[in-house]
Symmetry: C2
Subunit: 142 residues, 2 copies
Amino acid sequence: MEHALNLAEKAALEDEVPVGAVIIQNEKIIGQGYNQREKSHNAIAHAEIIAIQKASHFLKNWRLIDCLLVVTLEPCLMCLAAIQQARMSGIVYGSLDPKGGAISLGYSIHEDKRTNHRFPAYFTETPRCSQILKEFFAKKRS
Amino acid sequence: MEHALNLAEKAALEDEVPVGAVIIQNEKIIGQGYNQREKSHNAIAHAEIIAIQKASHFLKNWRLIDCLLVVTLEPCLMCLAAIQQARMSGIVYGSLDPKGGAISLGYSIHEDKRTNHRFPAYFTETPRCSQILKEFFAKKRS
């Protein structure tokens, strides 16, 4: 989570909503990303998506087997579904997103028995993860 | 839909699940894509996502305002959520995906009043859209 937070800080420096994500396989980081929606003019360029693309490129496989995603903010539905598409083994997130988080909104697709891949999602409260977002939006408003 | 079908046929020729998508703004195609998950080693490389990335690049804006997505197959949840993230104005799909389609599975996020963007999704049955998929999987099995 420390590394994901460093990435989120990098996003904030680039005036992007500060969210960072890393993908771990066998205790090694094989993909990472931070939100770049504004800079890249791309609605899809969330931290998790960029990390998935990098890990897939690294493994030369779209299936990210035995990979864990660690992200500073609860994933939106697009990202949670992308994690499922990539067949990842689990996620850990450091802060809640009550308005935009897939799980907070009740879209627990990662537990849906009708889908062909399920995985656990752990919320590990990490105050710095929400704090960095609050600071970013407070600065934006002022 | 004719153009999206041509893209799906291109996918089939490259041994990818044949799905094609185009994005239309002011009666002009501004983005298009076909499924490239295998070739690109990328779980995210669905037809819709590639089309969104191309349209965003074309408009130099992550908001695809007044854009309609036309796709040969009902979008999965990742794609439906990506369409929402991109603030598109609507989608039309030519065949149903009872096992993997977001709407068929009951995840009608495009109508969820708690989200910050909603849009209509029209199913326009186009027999060639499902036929091309059936032919692809029949060939795979034989």
